[in-house]
């Protein structure tokens, strides 16, 4: 009996994971670095056989975040964020979109904590150490446990804790997007002039998307959602180009998120049905019970379709 107890004790000691949280630790270190670092850099975005260079300027000053992202391909597109207002300049479409967003949500900001209820859907692990832009980098993998979401791999500079490269992959491990810094410099004295857009603003059509009333009772519900996803935001939003308010639902698993937009179709307009894509975000449009539905998210297209085709008015769901 004593021998059995000794064996059991040894087995328990061996079963203690030696470094189970290393991947998570590196993500936390990275989040800390991103939250307080000012920098300028350039990165290459590769997706679907195309590569495009972008520049980024990021400043944290007294808790206020300013950021500017510019396409270097010559199309003049750029995005400027100052505090909670984001302006997207699309000169090729003669359009500028102004959107207010919640504060403290910078473009590369703090990471969610992969704990609690969301943890089962991803596996976070430190997979190695490699040479990268600034020197040795810890490589952290965030693997999805099913086909409803994408996975991530991050190269985090060991010294500065900054992500210098990231990859998005499907559940089979195929890389579908890669962001890779080619220049990264730290600068605590970035001037306001660095956030002035280079676009000729006089020739643009300006549209402003009004902040939505968050927290209203949703009028629609997804009758089926992939495991781990939950309704995190619901409300009405005035969208540019639409006269009636649009219902906006956001489902999230803590890492990936899916926006559902529901509206009555414009009179005389042919309903939109099909699939689209912009970078890592896919979109799926369909008609549900006479309403135009568009679902957008950084998840596989099938996940969008799965959610969209299960949408029902909330009253109908309650009566079931």
């Amino acid at each position: 009996m004593t021998l059995c107890r000794a064996l059991a004790a040894c087995a328990m000691l061996i079963a203690v994971p030696a470094a189970a949280d290393d991947g998570q630790e590196w993500l936390n270190r990275m989040a800390g670095a991103l939250a307080g670092t000012s920098y300028v850099g350039e990165f290459v975005c590769e997706s679907a056989g195309r590569a495009e260079r972008l520049s980024i300027t990021h400043r944290v000053r007294d808790g206020a975040i300013a950021e500017r992202l510019v396409s270097l391909s010559g199309n003049g597109r750029e995005l400027v964020r100052e505090d909670d207002e984001v302006v997207v300049y699309l000169p090729d479409q003669k359009l500028a979109i102004i959107e207010r967003r919640p504060a403290q949500s910078d473009l590369m900001g703090a990471l969610p904590q992969f704990g609690g209820e969301f943890a089962p859907w991803y596996e976070v692990s430190l997979v190695g150490r490699e040479s990268a832009l600034l020197g040795p980098a810890a490589v952290v993998a965030v693997r999805p446990r099913d086909g409803y979401r994408f996975g991530y791999r991050l190269w985090i500079d060991e010294k500065t804790r900054m992500p210098v490269r990231s990859e998005l992959s499907d559940s089979a491990g195929r890389v579908i997007e890669r962001l890779r810094f080619t220049r990264l410099e730290f600068d605590d004295d970035i001037t306001d002039a660095a956030f002035e857009p280079a676009v000729d603003r006089s020739s643009l059509r300006w549209v402003r998307q009004a902040p939505q009333a968050v927290g209203e009772a949703p009028t629609w519900r997804a009758a089926r959602i992939p495991p781990g996803f939950r309704l995190s935001v619901s409300g009405l939003q005035a969208m540019a180009g639409t006269s009636a308010p649009v219902s906006h639902l956001v489902y999230s698993d803590g890492l990936a998120s899916v926006s559902v937009f529901i509206q009555l179709p414009k009179p005389g307009m042919t309903p939109v049905v099909g699939t689209g894509r912009s970078g890592v975000a896919s979109a799926f449009s369909t008609v549900v019970q006479g309403h135009q539905v568009t679902v957008v998210g950084e998840v596989p297209p099938d996940t969008l379709k799965y959610i969209a085709t299960g949408l029902r008015p909330a009253t109908q769901e309650q009566n079931r």
């Binding site: 000794a6 040894c10 087995a11 000691l13 030696a18 975005c45 590769e46 997706s47 679907a48 056989g49 972008l54 396409s71 597109r77 995005l79 984001v86 997207v88 699309l90 359009l95 949500s105 910078d106 473009l107 900001g109 990471l111 969610p112 190695g128 150490r129 490699e130 040479s131 040795p136 086909g147 409803y148 998005l168 499907d170 559940s171 089979a172 195929r174 890389v175 997007e177 962001l179 995190s232 540019a240 180009g241 956001v250 998120s257 926006s259 939109v272 099909g274 699939t275 689209g276 894509r277 912009s278 970078g279 890592v280 979109a283 449009s285 596989p300 297209p301 099938d302 996940t303 379709k305």
Partner: protein, 130 residues
Amino acid sequence: MSRSGAVLRALGGVAVAAGVAAVALLLAEPFSRQDPVAQVPVLAQVEYTPVEAVSSAPAAGEAPARLYTTPPAGDGPGNLPAAEFANYLVAHSSYASPLVRRSVVAGLIVAPDPGAAQDAPVTENRQDGQ
């Protein structure tokens, strides 16, 4: 020697080995907590994996298509005007998690693919006969 004695002796050997391993793990633990990658050698530049088009992965249950050909980057769904698609993307980007938001907004300002046919077909190939 009796059979039970031999078994006990073997078990005792296993116990000693397990104990040594456990002690070694306990000693190694503080170092790995200090720097989880310190003992891993720096490798040469990583192998360059090709970037593929967005694909859907097999999913269980009611998940639909298994093979999916996505439209070119920058295309809105069906006949959705590009400006309206951009509006949706901007609105969505506010709620994208910080880890992927950079990718979402980068996709917004990356130019549409000039070589992409405007009427590129969207096809679904169902392998499972659904």
